[in-house]
C-alpha cells in the first residue's frame, strides 16, 4: 500500500509578497493513477505544480518522492528525478522534426546521432500509438498530435510522474479521446498522472481521484466515482449545493421580431468561410455551434471584418453599411471578444486601465484622449461591476488570472456600449465561477436590449445561454435550431447529419 505512493506532499506552504498562495496543502499521488487537481483560478493549482516541478521553492512542508524526502531547486532537477510536465501552451519548435522535438536538449551527447535518434523516436511513437513519423516537420501535425508529442518528450523513458496542465483546452472531442487513450496507456505502465483541466466532464471520464483546492487551501481528496459532479462544483466554488443547481437553470434570452439589428447576406471572408446569411434581433442571444475548425470563429470574424471581407452585403438596423475594418464595425456598434485571448484580446504589458479603455478610446479618436481621471473612473467602474480581482487599475493585465483577464476584455467592449456584441469562447480556460458569472451577464445584457452572439466549445453552455443556434460543419452553415427544449443530442445530431 505504502509503496504505491510515488509522490507525497505534506503541509506545503507558499507565499508571495502580499499573497498567500498555498497554505498547509497535502497531496498524494499513487502509482498508475490519474489524479485530477481541481480548483478555480487562483486556487493554487499552478503554484502547487510549480513547486512539484522545481520552478518555485516551498516555504514550508515536505515532499517525498517514492518515500525519500526531496526538494527540487530547479526544473532540471525535477526532470532528472522523473517528473515530466506538459503545459497548456505547447512549448515545442514547429519548424523542427518530430524526433528533434522529442530529443533535442535532452541527451548528454554533444553530437546528434540522427539515425539512433530517429529510430528511438519511431519506437516511442509506435509504442505510445502516436500517429506521426519521426522525420515529419512538427508544424504539419495536428494540435492534438503535437500535444501528444510534447507528452512523449516529457515521458521519455523513465518518467514516474507526468503533469498535464490544461492539455485539452485546444483540442476537439475526437482529439481529446486520442489524448485520453495515450493517458490510459501511460497509466497502465504505472506512471502517475496529475491532470489539470477546466472541463469537468473530462475529469469524470478519465480520473481515478480528485483533489480540490480553494483559495490556497486543501478542501479534500476524493474518489472520482463517489463524488457527484454537482458536489465537486460546489466544493470548488465554496458555495452551497442549492446555489449551484439554481445557476444551471437560466432562462434563455428572448428575441423580438422587429427589424434585425444586424443582417448579413452572402457574407464571406478571406479566411475561407463559405458565403453565409445571418441575422440577429434586438435582445437576442444566438450562437454558432460546431466542432473546432467548423468555421464558427471565421464566421464571426467576417461579421466584425477581423479577416478581410471578400463579399456580401451587410445591414445594420435595416440600413446598408460598409464594414471593411474592425473600426468600421465598432462604429456601427459591434463589439468582438476574440477566441484567442492572449494573442488577439489583451495587450499584455499594458495596465488593466489601458486595456479597459482601449476600444472606447480608439472610437473617440486619435486626437481626443481621455483624461487620466476619466480613464481611472471608467476602469474602477468596471472593476467593481464585473468584480475583477486586481490590486489596482495600474497593474499590468498579464499578471491577472485568465478569468480576470477575460473580464477586462469584456469590460473593454461593454464600455463602448455596443448594440451587438460577439463573444467567441469567452469562457475558455477560465474557472467555473467566472463562467457562470459571464453566462449570467450575457443574459442580463440581452434583457437590457443588447444583441449577442455567444460561441463556446461546450454545447451545454450554449444551450443555457442561446435562444437560437446556428450549426456549422466544414465551414458551412448546415442548419439552425431554436426552442427551449434543445439538448446536446439535437445539436450533435445536426452536426452529424448536416452537410452531406
Amino acid at each position: 500500500m505504502q509503496s504505491d505512493i510515488i509522490l507525497k506532499m505534506e503541509g506545503i506552504c507558499k507565499s508571495f509578497p502580499g499573497v498567500r498562495a498555498l497554505h498547509n496543502v497535502d497531496f498524494t499521488l499513487r502509482k498508475g493513477e490519474i489524479h485530477a487537481l481541481m480548483g478555480e483560478n487562483g486556487a493554487g493549482k499552478s503554484t502547487l505544480i510549480k513547486i512539484i516541478t522545481g520552478v518555485y521553492q516551498k516555504d514550508a512542508g515536505q515532499i517525498y518522492l517514492e518515500g525519500r524526502p526531496v526538494s527540487f531547486r530547479s526544473p532540471q532537477e525535477a526532470q532528472d528525478m522523473g517528473i515530466g510536465t506538459v503545459f497548456q501552451e505547447i512549448a515545442l519548435c514547429p519548424n523542427l522534426t518530430v524526433a528533434e522535438n522529442m530529443f533535442i536538449g535532452r541527451g548528454r551527447d554533444r553530437f546528434v546521432h540522427w539515425k539512433t535518434m530517429n529510430g528511438k523516436a519511431a519506437e516511442m511513437l509506435s509504442s505510445l500509438g502516436i500517429p506521426a513519423s519521426p522525420t515529419q516537420e512538427l508544424a504539419s501535425c495536428s494540435i492534438a498530435v503535437q500535444q501528444m508529442i510534447a507528452i512523449a518528450r516529457a515521458v521519455d523513458m523513465d518518467c514516474k510522474i507526468l503533469i498535464l496542465d490544461e492539455p485539452t483546452s485546444s483540442l476537439d472531442e475526437d482529439e481529446v479521446q486520442k489524448l485520453f487513450a495515450l493517458m490510459r496507456q501511460l497509466k497502465a505502465r504505472g506512471v502517475g498522472i496529475i491532470f489539470i483541466t477546466h472541463f469537468i466532464d473530462q475529469v469524470y471520464e478519465i480520473s481515478d481521484r480528485i483533489t480540490v483546492l480553494r483559495n490556497g487551501e486543501l478542501i479534500g481528496e476524493y474518489e472520482a466515482s463517489s463524488l457527484p459532479q454537482i458536489e465537486l462544483i460546489s466544493k470548488m466554488m465554496g458555495k452551497a449545493l442549492s446555489d449551484v443547481s439554481s445557476m444551471k437553470k437560466l432562462e434563455p434570452g428572448k428575441a423580438d421580431d422587429s427589424v434585425p439589428v444586424f443582417e448579413a447576406t452572402a457574407l464571406s471572408s478571406a479566411a475561407g468561410v463559405r458565403p453565409f446569411d445571418f441575422t440577429i434581433q434586438k435582445g437576442e442571444v444566438n450562437g454558432f455551434a460546431g466542432l473546432l475548425g467548423s468555421g464558427r470563429s471565421e464566421s464571426v470574424r467576417a461579421i466584425f471584418a477581423a479577416d478581410k471581407v471578400t463579399g456580401g452585403e451587410v445591414k445594420v438596423n435595416g440600413k446598408r453599411v460598409k464594414i471593411k475594418s474592425p473600426l468600421d464595425a465598432m462604429k456601427q456598434g459591434i463589439g468582438y471578444l476574440p477566441e484567442d485571448r492572449k494573442g488577439d484580446g489583451i495587450i499584455d504589458e499594458l495596465s488593466v486601465r489601458d486595456n479597459i479603455i482601449l476600444a472606447m478610446q480608439v472610437m473617440k479618436g486619435f486626437f481626443r484622449p481621455l483624461s487620466r481621471k476619466q480613464a481611472e473612473e471608467f476602469a474602477e467602474q468596471f472593476i467593481q461591476q464585473l468584480d475583477i480581482k486586481v490590486p489596482s487599475p495600474n497593474t499590468p493585465i498579464k499578471s491577472l488570472s485568465g478569468g480576470n483577464q477575460q473580464k477586462v476584455v469584456l469590460a473593454r467592449w461593454l464600455l463602448t456600449q455596443p448594440m451587438y456584441l460577439i463573444l467567441d469562447e469567452p469562457t475558455r480556460g477560465i474557472d467555473v465561477g467566472t463562467k457562470v458569472e459571464i453566462q449570467k451577464l450575457v443574459l442580463k445584457l440581452a434583457a437590457e436590449g443588447m444583441s449577442l452572439t455567444f460561441i463556446s466549445s461546450e454545447i451545454d453552455e450554449m444551450l443555457r445561454v442561446c435562444s437560437r443556434m446556428i450549426v456549422m460543419k466544414d465551414r458551412e452553415i448546415v442548419g439552425e435550431l431554436s426552442g427551449t427544449n434543445l439538448t446536446e443530442q439535437d445539436v450533435m445530431q445536426m452536426i452529424a447529419q448536416g452537410g452531406k
Binding site: P326, P338, I347, F367
Partner: protein, 363 residues
C-alpha cells in the same frame, strides 16, 4: 486593496540613467571639484554642464524619435544620421541660393528640410509597415546611400554656411545667456510632451508594439501607426540635422551626424526601454542621451587617449548593461527581500480581507 506601484516602477525605469549620471558626476568631482563651475563669457553660460546640454542636443532629439520607432516597429532606424545629412543639405542649398539671408529664409529653409525629413521617413516607413521589411534592413538602404545623396545635393565638398543668423542658431543669441541649441532642444521636448498629452500616440504606439493583432481588433491600424512613427523620426532627423549644420557652420556630408544612430539606440536602451518594442518612456531616453554625452566628455576630461576612448566607452557600456540586466536585477531584488525578511524576523503578513468580509456578511 494594495497600493498602486506604477509610480515607483516608472521611477525604476529611470534608475539606470540616473545612477549612471550620479556615478559620472562623482568621477568628475573626484577629478576636479570645479566640475559644476559655470563661467559667463560674452553674457552666455559656459562650463561642463552647459557643454553637455549643448553637445547632446541632436542626440536628444534623435533618441526621442528612435524611442517611438522602436516601440511601435520593434526595430531601429539606422539611417537617422544620413537622413539628417540629406535634409540639412537641402536646408543649406536653400539658404545659399536665396542671396540675402533673413530670419524668414532660415525658417522657410528649415520647414523645407522638415518636409524632406518627412519624405525620407515616409520612404522608410512604407518599406517597414506596408512591405514588412525589417526596420534595420529597410533603413540600411539610406544608411548606405544617404551620404552620397547629401553630397550630390551639396554639389561640392562642405559648402560653408556663413551668415549671422545661422551662427546665432548654432551658438548663442547676444543677450540670451543660454546657448541656442539648448533652447531649441528644450522647446522640442516641450512640444513632444504636448503631443503625447493631446493625442493617443502613446496608447496606440504601445498597443501596436506589444500586440499588433489585438490592436487591430480594437480598431487601430498597426501599419499606419508604424508609418507615423517613421514620419516623426524623419522630422526629428531634420531638426537634428538643422541644429548640427548650424553648429558646424558648414555642411560636411561625410561626417555630419556620423554614426549617431548607435548613440541614439544606446540612449533608448539606457533609458530603460526594451529594444523589442512595446512600452516606452521618453524621459528615460532623453536622460540616456545626456548620459552618453556626459560619458563622452568625462572620458575626454580624464584625458583618455583619443584613440582609446572608444574602448573605454565600450567597457563602460558592457558593465552598465550587465548591471541593468534582468538577471542581476532579479538577483538584487531577491537579496533585498531576504535581507528585509531577516530584519523583520517574521513571516509575511496575511491579507485576511476576504475572510473578514464574508464573516461580516454572515452576521
Amino acid at each position: 486593496m494594495l497600493k498602486p506601484k506604477t509610480r515607483f516602477s516608472n521611477l525604476s525605469n529611470l534608475f539606470l540613467p540616473l545612477s549612471v549620471l550620479a556615478i559620472l558626476i562623482i568621477i568628475n568631482l573626484i577629478k576636479g571639484a570645479d566640475y559644476f563651475r559655470i563661467t559667463v563669457v560674452n553674457g552666455a553660460f559656459y562650463g561642463n554642464i552647459p557643454n553637455i546640454l549643448f553637445g547632446a542636443s541632436e542626440l536628444v532629439i534623435l533618441s526621442v524619435g528612435m524611442t517611438l520607432v522602436t516601440a511601435a516597429s520593434r526595430g531601429q532606424d539606422i539611417s537617422i544620421g544620413e537622413s539628417g545629412a540629406i535634409s540639412s543639405a537641402i536646408f543649406v542649398q536653400y539658404v545659399l541660393r536665396s542671396g540675402n539671408v533673413t530670419l524668414w529664409t532660415i525658417l522657410v529653409g528649415f520647414l523645407i528640410s522638415c518636409v524632406a525629413g518627412i519624405v525620407i521617413g515616409a520612404f522608410n516607413g512604407t518599406l517597414v509597415s506596408f512591405f514588412n521589411v525589417q526596420p534595420m534592413v529597410a533603413t540600411l538602404i539610406l544608411f548606405l546611400g544617404g551620404r552620397s545623396i547629401a553630397f550630390i545635393i551639396d554639389g561640392k565638398v562642405s559648402p560653408i554656411l556663413a551668415n549671422e543668423i545661422s551662427n546665432r542658431i548654432g551658438t548663442v543669441i547676444p543677450g540670451v545667456p543660454i546657448q541656442t541649441p539648448i533652447i531649441l532642444t528644450a522647446v522640442f521636448i516641450v512640444l513632444v510632451a504636448m503631443v503625447l498629452k493631446a493625442t493617443n500616440l502613446r496608447l496606440y504606439v504601445e498597443a501596436v508594439g506589444i500586440n499588433p493583432s489585438a490592436a487591430r481588433l480594437n480598431g487601430i491600424n498597426p501599419k499606419r501607426v508604424i508609418f507615423l512613427t517613421f514620419l516623426i523620426m524623419g522630422v526629428c532627423s531634420a531638426i537634428a540635422g538643422f541644429i548640427a549644420v548650424n553648429k558646424a557652420g558648414r555642411h560636411d556630408s561625410v561626417n555630419l551626424l556620423k554614426f549617431i544612430m548607435m548613440d541614439a539606440i544606446l540612449a533608448v536602451a539606457l533609458g530603460g526601454n526594451s529594444l523589442g518594442g512595446g512600452r516606452f518612456g521618453i524621459t528615460g531616453s532623453i536622460l540616456g542621451a545626456y548620459t552618453i554625452e556626459m560619458l563622452n566628455r568625462t572620458l575626454l576630461r580624464l584625458e583618455v587617449n583619443p584613440e582609446a576612448i572608444k574602448v573605454f566607452k565600450a567597457v563602460f557600456i558592457i558593465v552598465l548593461m550587465i548591471v541593468a540586466s534582468p538577471v542581476v536585477r532579479a538577483f538584487v531584488t531577491q537579496a533585498l527581500d531576504k535581507a528585509k525578511s531577516i530584519i523583520a524576523g517574521s513571516p509575511l503578513r496575511q491579507t485576511g480581507g476576504t475572510a473578514d468580509a464574508t464573516g461580516r456578511k454572515g452576521e
